[in-house]
């Protein structure tokens, strides 16, 4: 668990800081001026830090809510994302975070109210929009560190009051007590990311098994929560057809199609430079030895493989869901 907590001096007495510290009485506390002093220096090794990530408590000073990258969405016209936290407790080898940040430490921004004010402003500035989507699990897993962050506990009541704002909690966590104990709110989608079990075992280190995630989705769906499925990124391998078919069948065998808000599929893409960083960190990773190529500044599978995989999965998904619930996330920027 977390053994070292860095704290910006400015928020040492913030109530959220004090609450977290009260739950980590044995942690090593180290004060810093700005979180960037710990998180940003060049000479850091993401792979080594993953052995024992520290928690950094900080205040975010701006850019609370950002436009979602082009091609990122689940049906709404207006899409934004926000990151109350940077980095993730899981260690998925395909994740862009390992190439995005030099440090694997978790940064938690404790000034939740500033994020909420900004969401409120965006909603007020768009009175004609019926729905505005806010994605929360872009730079972290929305639920995995709930016991520390209390993010869901604090944001659900906020979104409950702002019905036009749709919150997507993107996760691989089975830690859903906070949701199960909360009244269902219709403008929240709990979206689960999956790769087939054999790929998950190989690439998603520390992530709960696929079966447990499906069971967790089922409990949420039965409680009335809207759930989403994210097959993103799609991982190419020799028996991908057999494995993705099995995964999709298992999900729809367990969860009724009516409970599913949306399914999105997306290819594995990295900006070239980011890919090289990740490849250098994990030269022993077979995933990166696959048939990848550079196209328009991105490292990805060939267009042919991407299209073949997306079409294959979407064809199976169409057996279970109407087309208007299926989305392709063709992210071209990060």
């Amino acid at each position: 668990m977390i053994e070292t907590i860095y704290i910006e001096s400015e928020i040492r007495s913030h109530p959220r800081t004090e609450s977290i510290l009260s739950r980590f009485s044995k942690a090593r506390i180290v004060e810093c001026e700005r979180y960037g002093e710990v998180f940003n220096p060049k000479k850091q090794n993401f792979r080594l830090q993953k052995k024992k990530p520290a928690l950094i408590l900080a205040r975010k000073h701006g850019n609370f809510i950002l436009d979602a990258p082009k091609g990122f969405g689940i049906g709404g016209r207006k899409n934004y994302y926000f990151s109350h936290m940077l980095n993730c407790i899981y260690d998925c080898r395909y994740c862009f975070l390992q190439g995005m940040y030099r440090s694997a430490n978790y940064v938690l921004f404790v000034n939740y109210e500033d994020f909420q004010n900004e969401i409120n402003n965006i909603v007020e500035q768009n009175p004609d929009e019926k729905e505005i989507t806010f994605f929360s699990g872009y730079d972290c897993d929305s639920l995995a560190l709930e016991s520390v962050t209390r993010f869901v506990r604090e944001f659900l009541p906020f979104f409950q009051k702002h019905k036009k704002a749709v919150l997507e909690l993107r996760t691989k966590s089975i830690n859903v007590d906070e949701l199960l104990n909360h009244e269902v709110i219709p403008n929240c989608v709990v979206a689960y990311s999956f790769t087939p079990e054999n790929i998950s075992q190989k690439l998603e280190h520390g992530v709960p098994p696929v079966k447990k995630r499906i069971q967790t989705m089922k409990s949420l769906a039965e409680k009335g929560w809207r759930v989403g499925i994210r097959l993103d990124p799609l991982i190419y391998h020799e028996s991908y057809k057999k494995n993705y078919r099995k995964l999709i069948q298992e999900i729809f065998y367990t969860i009724s199609a009516e409970s599913i808000h949306s399914v999105s599929t997306g290819p594995m893409r990295f900006p070239e430079k980011m890919f090289h960083t990740i490849e250098r960190l994990y030269p022993d990773e077979r995933l990166f030895a696959g048939p990848l190529e550079n196209r328009n500044g991105l490292t990805s599978y060939s267009e042919e493989i991407e299209t073949e995989m997306m079409n294959f999965c979407n064809t199976i998904l169409e057996n279970h869901l109407p087309k208007n619930k299926l989305f392709s996330c063709l992210q071209s920027s990060f």
């Binding site: 860095y6 520290a54 991982i235 490849e279």
Partner: protein, 279 residues
């Protein structure tokens, strides 16, 4: 493969127990006294007192370490004062702040430390006032800023042994024998720390090492610098996708020059099915 550790120590009396325990022998004494063990996996330099001396000595040790220093762990060992930590207590620095420039460094603790951890303040002159919770000493900031040019923060650390506290100010000044004894009493923590750093250093050496068949290829064909990078990347992929197979069996019959080698390898790997484990 064995992990490498470079010690930077201010005084001979601080270094003596370390030199003796790790069987280090003097290799150089022109600018600084430099010691190393037989396979040069552990090196030690005596820097002299002060941040600037420590910075220069660290750079010197890097320059005389002929091999790649990016995977070498660096360890500064020395004595320091603290308001109330008991004498002979060893601490590992969790933060280092330079009292003059106010710059801070945060060594990353990716292992269980063998001793307590504390923040360390580097001062220019001996200072026996301890107004805050920092361990006060004179080398860490110079050492850290220099070592950071070569390695990463997970494998650069400072261990300080408490030689003074507010209760000890009235006692006679420290002698070399007393300093030797302070370090000696903490040798088990130093040894444990070295073991942990060797493991990390070794992991990094493995990660950054050349792939099999690289030297054979370089001796058979002439590669430009860019081509050498491409070749390394392709040979790494070969190792993952064709484990146990000799790449030269494919290259020798087909390749006249380095371009052929890269094209042949690339094509061969593109046509190799990607089996993930448990497929």
């Amino acid at each position: 493969m064995i992990g490498k550790v470079n010690f930077v120590v201010a005084l001979s009396c601080e270094a003596k127990p370390i030199i003796s325990h790790f069987n280090l022998r003097k290799r150089d004494s022109t600018l600084f006294k430099v010691y190393s063990n037989q396979d040069h996996s552990i090196r030690l330099i005596i820097s002299g007192i002060g941040s600037s001396a420590s910075l220069k000595a660290t750079k010197h040790l890097a320059s005389v370490s002929k091999d790649d220093t990016s995977t070498t762990a660096w360890l500064n060992i020395g004595i320091g004062g603290h308001k109330d930590l008991p004498l002979a207590t060893a601490i590992l620095a969790q933060r280092i702040v330079d009292s003059k420039t106010k710059q801070s460094w945060f060594p990353q603790l990716v292992f269980d430390p063998p001793c307590l951890t504390a923040s360390v303040k580097t001062v220019e002159k001996p200072d026996f006032n301890y107004p805050d919770d920092n361990v006060v000493e004179m080398e860490a900031s110079g050492f850290y800023s220099a070592a950071e040019s070569y390695s990463t923060r997970e494998i650069i650390h400072c261990m300080k042994i408490i030689s003074d506290n507010s209760q000890s100010l009235s006692r006679p000044p420290l002698t070399e024998t007393m300093v030797d004894e302070l370090v000696n009493r903490n040798l088990s923590s130093i040894k444990e720390l070295v073991r942990k750093l060797q493991v990390l250093s070794m992991e990094e050496e493995e990660r950054t090492s050349d792939p099999p068949f690289l030297q054979e290829c370089l001796s058979l064909w002439h590669f430009t610098v860019t081509q050498t990078h491409q070749l390394k990347s392709l040979l790494r992929k070969w190792l993952l996708l064709q484990p146990g197979k000799n790449v030269l069996d494919v290259l020798l019959p087909n390749c006249k020059d380095s371009r052929n080698v890269i094209q042949t390898l690339d094509l061969h790997l593109k046509n190799t099915p990607v089996w993930m484990d448990h497929d």
